[in-house]
């Protein structure tokens, strides 16, 4: 309802804009701040992760990934270094992998919420 009301109010404004200029020459937008909900969970090394990782990407790039073991997280950290050229020192890289594997490591088996295929799966035609 709010949009309908606004729409009615804005009709004259739109007509004016369209009449004045067929096409605006400059487009300018402002991006919102990072998603605060995706803050890194506390844990040993979290400050090292913040210092090395969040200049290039928001924390939701980390916290939204599937929980994974150290080997998988190490692969991601190495990719940041070799592909994207992020200057992460060896010592820091080790701390980052340990943090990720500890805080975002594999979930205990009894806490897994992964969806399993139903036991009576669909039959082929």
């Amino acid at each position: 309802m709010r949009r309908t009301a606004l729409g009615l109010l804005l009709i004259p404004g739109i007509a004016l804009v369209l009449g004045a200029s067929a096409f605006p020459q400059v487009r300018s937008i402002e991006l919102p701040p990072d998603n605060a909900i995706a803050e890194l969970r506390p844990g040993p090394g979290v400050e090292v992760v913040r210092a090395n990782c969040i200049a290039c990407h928001s924390t939701d790039y980390i916290v939204r990934q599937p929980r994974s073991d150290a080997k998988h997280w190490e692969g991601e950290v190495k990719k940041m270094i070799s592909v994207y050229g992020v200057p992460i020192g060896e010592a820091d890289a080790k701390v980052i992998v340990e943090y990720l594997a500890a805080v975002y490591g594999p979930a205990p088996a009894n806490a897994t919420k992964e969806k399993k295929p139903t036991k009576s799966g669909p039959k082929a035609p």
Binding site: L6, G7, I29, H57, Y84
Partner: protein, 409 residues
């Protein structure tokens, strides 16, 4: 395509999106995280809805670089409104200030006459082409990969369907005059990553593919409006039928090459196993890979929603959309008995082979209890969807038969 009806429907949407845009622009910079996306979907549940500039409320996947997902309700209709169209960037920052007086599209490399075109040149010096095409992220639905894989954990909303207006790439190449020996054409946007070490997002298509594809466009309008900034203003490549990794946004340079394009985004990323399904058994790395290309057939039930309660004996009329890699949808079928029997859906208006095709199917539950509703589509060359999801290490090209659960009471 019955253009009269399409355009009537579009102009109403244009108007609505203008209103929506005018209402949202003053709120740019406002991150609304109070609302969580209420979804049965475990991949999406709890994610915030956010409103970015020129956009309506979308599901936030990541903020920087931004990745925003379209809620499924927008797929009840074949055309996705601009303000609801998903957003995906590889590098940060995306362009936030664009001046058309300085923007130029350059076409250079192995050509007789390099071109340098303003937006007005594109509009006035070449014939205009309009087509409706699905833009779908290679990793759409990646969050459902099992075993799970790293990458953007999308639900199913990294896709959208729009009418694109622009100039045929072949017309631009004809004007420039491609010299003999052309192998690939590279496309680069003007968005520059903040760190110089980050590979600039750029893609390529082979010369032979482009020569066979008259419908590739440099598009400057989407559903009759200039592109939203976050969807590639002022112009983007449209590669109908192919995954959107090739639809380079903020297009600035087209370069004809006499060799394969050496870009991280072609040689290392966006590659699929070289098997016919583009898939492997989970675990090992594929021995040989090829660049991702044409989209697989998909279909979705948009209504009723997962978990809906429906009445015994009352028609439910499931409906949704289907699409493929550009051959066009031939048939859509639904099943209410786990795939033992199928009934044919009625297809909606044909907006062209690259478009979403709406469908609806008669169905009424005959008894109380839980039902699964399955949907599958087949395209005009006989390609369909598998019962078991194909897997690859990057979570690309998902097209398993989709299934929703409803309860008849």
């Amino acid at each position: 395509m019955s253009s009269h009806f399409l355009h009537a429907a579009l102009s109403r949407r244009h108007f609505l999106s203008l209103v929506g845009t005018a209402a949202t622009v003053p709120r740019a910079g406002f991150l609304e995280t109070s609302k969580a996306y209420a979804a049965e979907d475990p991949i999406l549940a709890g994610r915030p809805l956010v409103r970015y500039p020129e956009k309506t409320d979308l599901i936030l996947l990541t903020s920087r670089p931004p990745q925003l997902e379209t809620p499924m309700k927008y797929f009840e209709h074949a055309i996705t409104p601009n303000e609801a169209f998903y957003v995906r960037y590889h590098t940060f920052p995306p362009p936030t200030h664009i001046d058309l007086s300085t923007w130029r599209l350059r076409l250079a490399g192995l050509v007789e006459r390099p071109l340098e075109l303003s937006l007005d040149d594109l509009k006035s010096e070449f014939s205009t082409t309009r087509l409706v095409a699905v833009n779908q992220c290679s990793g759409n639905s990646r969050g459902r990969s099992e075993p799970r894989v790293f990458g953007g954990q999308w639900g199913d909303g990294a896709m959208g369907n729009a009418e694109w207006t622009g100039v045929r790439l072949q017309d631009l190449l004809r004007r420039a005059g491609v010299k003999t020996g052309a192998v690939e054409i590279a496309f680069r946007g003007f968005d520059d990553p903040a760190a110089p070490t980050v590979p600039h997002f750029a893609k390529s298509l082979t010369m032979s593919m482009v020569a066979d594809s008259p419908d590739i466009l440099v598009a400057y309008e989407m559903n009759g409006q200039p592109l939203p900034t976050l969807n590639g203003f002022p112009a983007r490549l449209v590669v109908p039928g192919w995954y959107s990794t090739y639809w380079v946004k903020h297009l600035a340079e087209i370069t004809v090459l006499d060799h394969d394009f050496d870009s991280f985004w072609m040689q290392k990323a966006y590659r699929i196993p070289a098997s016919p399904c583009g898939c492997v058994e989970p675990g090992p790395t594929a021995a040989r890979t090829v660049p991702i290309n044409r989209m697989k057939v998909r279909s979705f039930i948009i209504s009723p929603k997962e978990g809906a309660r429906v009445a015994v004996g009352r028609p439910v009329a499931p409906k949704g959309i289907a699409f493929d890699g550009g051959y066009g949808i031939a048939d859509v079928e639904i099943s209410a008995d786990e795939g033992s029997s199928w009934r044919r859906a009625v297809l909606g208006r044909d907006l062209g082979p690259y478009s979403f095709r709406e469908w609806s199917a008669p169905w009424a539950p005959t008894k109380r209890g839980n039902f699964s509703l399955l949907v599958r589509a087949v395209n005009r060359v006989g390609e369909s969807q598998p019962f078991e999801a194909a897997w690859n290490p990057s979570g690309y090209m998902r097209n398993v038969i989709e299934k929703i659960r409803v309860t008849a009471v």
